[in-house]
């Protein structure tokens, strides 16, 4: 382990590898506060190349890597492993390009929604996302978590996604247009909680900034009524900001498939192990006590 840390320090610089318990404390848990664990070290890369080196080092030493955006998620997606490192995307915080003609913005993964909104001030455009925690929530974090986007699904907001797979290959999903050839891997990565790959750069669609944005308080009796209110408002230019994520119930075979998809992308289970499948209703889908993935015995 000490050798691995030395190697990481050489590659990132000493100030980008945090090991002091006081510094680690801030990264011990995400929004899910009852799963606080301290990582061996927190890494603060500031370039895609550094992330690539980190993954190579960790893969060769089989060190689990948990990727963290802002740590606002409450599903334990950013909860570190005690035997692994925590990769924070804080320093990848640049807006790389805003293209008003095509209505897109290309940002690094650690850019917060508020920072993007500020960067777009005066353009008449916005990114379509609104969060209670938008001051801190990062663009890539909310994508990995599949939250917050309206009116379209989260994947509908992405033109292009640069991500790094477990073998440290930099890959690109999407293109310059609205669709891409082949199987559509975008929705798989949305909601993968960093377990299939690390999002490093996103080209987002921008939307015309609404003339007015007003909070609306409505008394609602049941869920169906809530959805109806939301739907009926869509065409009347009142766009709701957020709907909660809902957990489908999966049976054993379906769970095996979800696990198998994870192993398709990350055969050594090094990326955010244990955080991909926050599933209700089936014990074989859930995380074990150590935070590892409970792999079903049978291979589908």
């Amino acid at each position: 382990m000490r050798e691995a840390i030395q190697q990481l320090q050489q590659c990132l610089g000493i100030d980008a590898v945090l090991q002091d318990p006081e510094q680690l404390r801030a990264y011990a848990g995400g929004g899910l506060t009852n799963r606080c664990q301290w990582p061996v070290a927190v890494l603060l890369p500031d370039s895609v190349a550094q992330i690539q080196s980190i993954l190579r080092i960790c893969k060769s030493r089989r060190l689990p890597v948990v990727t963290r955006g802002a740590g606002t998620g409450d599903c334990g997606g950013a909860a570190p492993r005690p035997n692994g490192v925590l990769l924070s995307l804080d320093r990848l915080n640049r807006i790389l390009e805003v293209d008003p003609r095509n209505r897109t913005a290309t940002v690094q993964a650690g850019v917060t929604h508020q920072c993007l909104l500020d960067g777009l001030a005066g353009s008449g455009l916005y990114s379509g996302a609104a969060y209670v925690t938008q001051d801190t929530t990062t663009v890539a974090g909310s994508m990995a978590k599949n939250t917050g986007a309206q009116p379209a699904a989260v994947s509908g907001h992405i033109i292009n996604l640069k991500w790094m797979d477990a073998d440290a290959n930099l890959l690109s999903l999407g293109g310059s247009g609205y669709d891409a050839p082949g199987y559509d891997l975008l929705p798989l990565l949305m909601g993968s909680e960093g377990g299939l790959g690390i999002i490093v750069e996103v080209t987002l669609r921008l939307w015309p900034r609404p003339v007015q944005h007003t909070p609306l308080l409505t008394a609602i009796w049941n869920r169906a009524q809530a959805v109806r209110i939301v739907l009926m408002r869509l065409f009347k230019a009142i766009i709701p900001s957020q709907l909660p994520n809902l957990c489908p119930q999966y049976n054993d075979t379906e769970c095996q498939y979800l696990h198998a998809i994870k192993t398709c992308f990350d055969p050594d289970l090094l990326l955010n192990p244990g955080t991909v499948l926050p599933l209700a209703g089936n014990p074989s889908c859930q995380m074990d006590d150590q935070g590892g993935v409970a792999i079903p015995p049978k291979d589908p």
Partner: protein, 400 residues
């Protein structure tokens, strides 16, 4: 009056057929209304073995797995805004039911025939003119149950509006051309039909049209479609009467009375653009020898400048989707589109030109994950082999 087909559940029989095919290694050609049979590669033997050359004309194989018997609306709750149907349900039946309740499928799927089914619409993943404004098939897909390549029945996603937690496998099925699973049941989000729809035509040249569309799409207007047919920019306003009226005052262009038909014709490729272009060789102009030039579907950033390739153009999705009739060599077309970061699909190939891969080649690195997913869902490679990519999707990793 639409004659609704009787609902019928053929799930068990389909499951048995896929399981048997898995045991025998018998490729299956999944088919519903067969309205989009022209789209994509043909189901072929070379999809199953990596040793054959991609250039050799593939042998069409496979027994037809007909899903038309698996049909009917399972659940529709207009208040929830979700409809769940069996895959073989005709699209027109779904549209008619939604219309009764003042709702629509927001992604405006093309039918291309009366028989078009919901399963085929999701498997092909094609969306109409509203796509940049209201979302694509993928965005409206909430959940589905499928038969994998072993005949196991799996359900992914939910029947609720709102994103599902965990891996979103249901949306992976959109546009997979049936090669990852036989779609059995599909849950889609529905939207309220707009109170008012209005189409404005503004005559311009191509360059100006791109500027106009770009400017319009950047303004908070109740737009649901923007297209340029070579003569005029067509703008569709839809929403509440007050919003449409207010927007109408701000926009240049003349209202056209047949707006609804116009957009329907574009969606179904009945618009004159899709009828006109024929091979420009004089001696082939006799009626029975007339064949259309290949029709390309180009996906690009909306404000991309005209590509300068010879042929005729139709711009939809505010410029992000470009239909292109051209006899230009496919490598030229793909190179020009790729230089702009887009991709080109040979949408209709009525002349039957050989050796042109229908779908744009995958960027490096992604092929590996596509193959792994195919192997996971369909280990014996019996579901529409070769339909998406002719030669490579079923090759094992060590065979490469």
């Amino acid at each position: 009056m639409i004659d609704f087909v009787m609902p019928q559940d053929a799930g068990v029989e389909l499951q048995e057929r896929v399981a048997t095919a898995y045991r025998l290694g018998q490729p299956l050609r999944i088919q519903c209304g067969n309205s989009k049979a022209f789209y994509g590669e043909s189901v072929s033997s070379s999809g199953c073995s990596g040793s054959e050359s991609a250039k050799r004309k593939p042998l069409v194989v496979g027994e037809v797995l007909d899903l038309r018997q698996h049909r009917g609306i399972i659940d529709y709750d207009p208040q929830d805004g979700v409809i769940t149907v069996r895959a073989g349900t005709p699209l027109r039946q779904v549209n008619a039911l939604l219309a009764e309740h003042g709702q629509i499928l927001g992604f405006e799927p093309p039918h291309f025939s009366e028989q078009a089914s919901v399963g085929g619409c999701v498997a092909c993943g094609l969306s109409g003119s509203a796509r940049p404004f209201l979302g694509s098939v993928r965005d409206h897909m909430l959940g589905c149950s499928i038969l994998n390549g072993k005949g196991e029945r799996l359900r992914f996603g939910g029947k609720r509006v709102g994103p599902a937690a965990g891996l979103d496998v249901a949306r992976l099925m959109v546009g997979a051309m049936g090669s990852l699973g036989v779609l059995l049941e599909i849950s889609l989000k529905t939207l309220p039909a707009p109170e008012v729809e209005l189409t404005l035509a503004l005559p311009t040249g191509t360059q100006e049209a791109l500027d106009v569309m770009s400017a319009r799409a950047g303004k908070p207007l109740p737009l649901t479609a923007l297209a340029y047919d070579g003569e005029a920019v067509l703008q569709r306003l839809a929403g509440s009467a007050a919003a449409v009226k207010q927007a109408r005052r701000k926009l240049a262009g003349d209202e056209i009375s047949s707006g609804r038909t116009w957009w329907e014709d574009v969606r179904e490729q009945r618009h004159y653009f899709f009828q006109a272009p024929f091979l420009q060789t004089p001696f082939l102009q006799t009626p029975f020898l007339q064949t259309k030039e290949p029709l390309w579907r180009l996906s690009l950033a909306p404000a991309t400048l005209p590509l300068g390739l010879p042929g005729s153009w139709f711009y939809d999705w505010g410029g992000a989707l470009r239909w292109f009739y051209s006899a230009a060599p496919y490598r030229h077309i793909r190179a020009a589109v790729e230089a702009e970061g887009g991709h080109a699909c040979l949408f209709r190939n009525e002349r039957g030109i050989d050796g042109v891969p229908i779908f744009h080649p995958l960027p490096s690195g992604l092929g590996l994950y596509q193959r792994r997913l195919k192997q996971l869902f369909d280990p014996a490679c019996i579901l529409n082999p070769g339909r998406l990519y002719r030669d490579s999707e079923c090759r094992s990793e060590n065979g490469l």
